[in-house]
């Protein structure tokens, strides 16, 4: 059966057999919101047709569902289609691009730059390349559409549904449920009461240390929850892991939130004195009218007007970053 998150409208597949008779509270792996999952009616699963929301779903939230398609063409206004080479024609050395002959960079690499590679033959160089990753990124790059992420997130809570399509990286790609340092939905969910057993983060932490000092990191699905909770076992443990590389994941909501905050952060970074004055005199709105307008236009261009208007990411960023936490926008 399917259950929709009342907060973000993400739809999850749930194995009805795993839902206790009295129902259960579950945490959305996308936004961290808590939803109620009731046991299916006894008259059959037909009643749980796709997109049937959980009982606690409120229609008012339906409009908040992001529109990934609008986010996809990030930076769509760029000149990607016809990038000109003109900027670097300043080089007098331009020539036709030709595949490198092995002899060119073979054993002669002991030039000024090669640093000890003097006798390294070309094949050795290839093997020793420190950055190349022939296949490592493939599964990550092929991030499934957003709608499939919650499905995989669901697998954290319930045993995998064989009807889901992505299996190979379901665990690693599964977003977390919030960031401990944030004031976002993760905390909200935690305060909402007990959840299904998979909610706490468990298992050995990812090798990279937590970004705990940056409490303002987006509490989004791909930002890992880093709570020092005791290990849980099996699938639930693995499913709570964040994606190894969030930059290779595709989470429109997180991208939009981060974009908004980065745009506002730029305003602050480029106009520190003006900002101080605005804070002091309460004139931020007037002083940064043009900058805010320009940044918002960029934001809308990248995420789409519908998404921009249906979320408060940009406004939140203005209040938290530009206005130092004061509600001025």
């Amino acid at each position: 059966m399917n259950v929709a998150c009342p907060e973000c409208s993400s739809v999850f597949r749930v194995d009805p057999a795993k839902v206790p008779a009295g129902g259960v509270r579950a945490r959305c792996s996308v936004c961290g919101g808590v939803m109620r999952v009731d046991s299916p009616p006894t008259f059959g699963d037909d009643a749980w047709s796709p997109a049937v929301p959980g009982r606690s779903a409120t229609p008012a939230h339906a409009g908040r569902q992001p529109t990934p398609r609008r986010v996809t063409p990030l930076h769509g206004s760029s000149t990607a289609a016809s990038p000109s080479h003109s900027p670097w024609r300043t080089s007098p050395l331009s020539s036709t691009t030709t595949p490198t002959h092995p002899a060119v960079v073979g054993s002669g690499m002991g030039g000024t730059v090669a640093h000890g590679e003097t006798s390294t033959p070309s094949q050795g160089v290839t093997a020793a390349s420190g950055v190349g990753t022939p296949a490592g990124a493939a599964p990550l790059v092929a991030t499934p559409p957003r709608s499939s992420t919650p499905v995989r997130g669901h697998q954290a809570v319930f045993p995998p549904d064989t009807s889901t399509t992505d299996h190979s990286r379901s665990v690693e790609d599964t977003p977390g449920v919030g960031h401990p340092g944030s004031s976002g939905s993760g905390d909200r969910a935690a305060a909402a009461g007990p959840t299904v057993p998979a909610a706490p983060v468990a298992g050995p932490p990812v090798a990279t240390p937590p970004a705990s000092r940056f409490g303002h990191f987006p509490p989004s699905p791909s930002t890992p929850p880093r709570r020092p909770t005791p290990p849980a076992s099996g699938l639930a443990d693995r499913a709570q892991r964040p994606p190894i590389n969030p930059f290779l994941a595709n989470d429109p909501n997180q991208k939009a939130k981060r974009l908004a905050r980065a745009l506002v952060s730029d305003i602050v970074a480029y106009h520190p004195q003006q900002r101080e004055q605005g804070l002091r005199e309460g004139t931020l709105r007037q002083l940064f009218k043009d900058e805010i307008k320009k940044s918002y236009e960029e934001y809308v261009e990248q995420v789409g007007s519908e998404f921009a208007e249906s979320t408060a990411h940009f406004q939140d960023a203005l209040n938290e970053i530009l206005a130092s936490g004061r509600k001025m926008f």
Binding site: W88, S91, L93, G130, V131, P139, F214, A262, S265
Partner: protein, 225 residues
Amino acid sequence: MSMINYASREINCKIVYYGPGLGGKTTNLEHVYGKVSPDTRGKLISLATETERTLFFDFLPVDLGTIRGFRTRFHLYTVPGQVYYNASRKLILKGVDGVVFVADSQMERMEANQESMQNLYDNMTEYGYDITRMPFVVQYNKRDLPNAASLGELQAALNPGWELTEPSRQRMVADPGRPGEHLVSQLPTGEWVERAPYFEAVAVGGEGVFDTLKAVSKLVLKSLA
């Protein structure tokens, strides 16, 4: 991509310094320009605003010796860092051979770093380039500032690495620049992950600038093989 001119026996490579605004990309190039002998460098071209913020790009050609009779010339570019200059950034990224991501270590700029990194991944993908298979190094600049984030935090946020699925590559690879650290390692959860080499820098003082440049140029030359 790198251009090899057999007639004039020259190899030209393009390295782009990417990163958030005010992170120190131009400062990196200025330091290189100031330290490299005039015989081995060209003119530093900078298209900047009145306040010396990079408007389009900086460009600096540097000769880095001869390989088998081929003169190697690296073209160093920076991009404008501010979010809304993406069209310029993307244009400059075209044909890149190696990327240096110059991160601003200040905690306040962490999200700008992340947005810029995401933008780099996105733009590379849109060109069909795979950043995980290209010469790519990360420089954490402004390490001298009191509000600099720790290396662990920066690494976690900006250089989480990517999974290696090829069994032949699933072996520990030490980071030559950092004793005790690894470029390829296995997570406690079992996955093998490769990370980009990273360097600390204080570009205004020149610290770490040439370490970064050497590392990326070395990777570029290796990639030509």
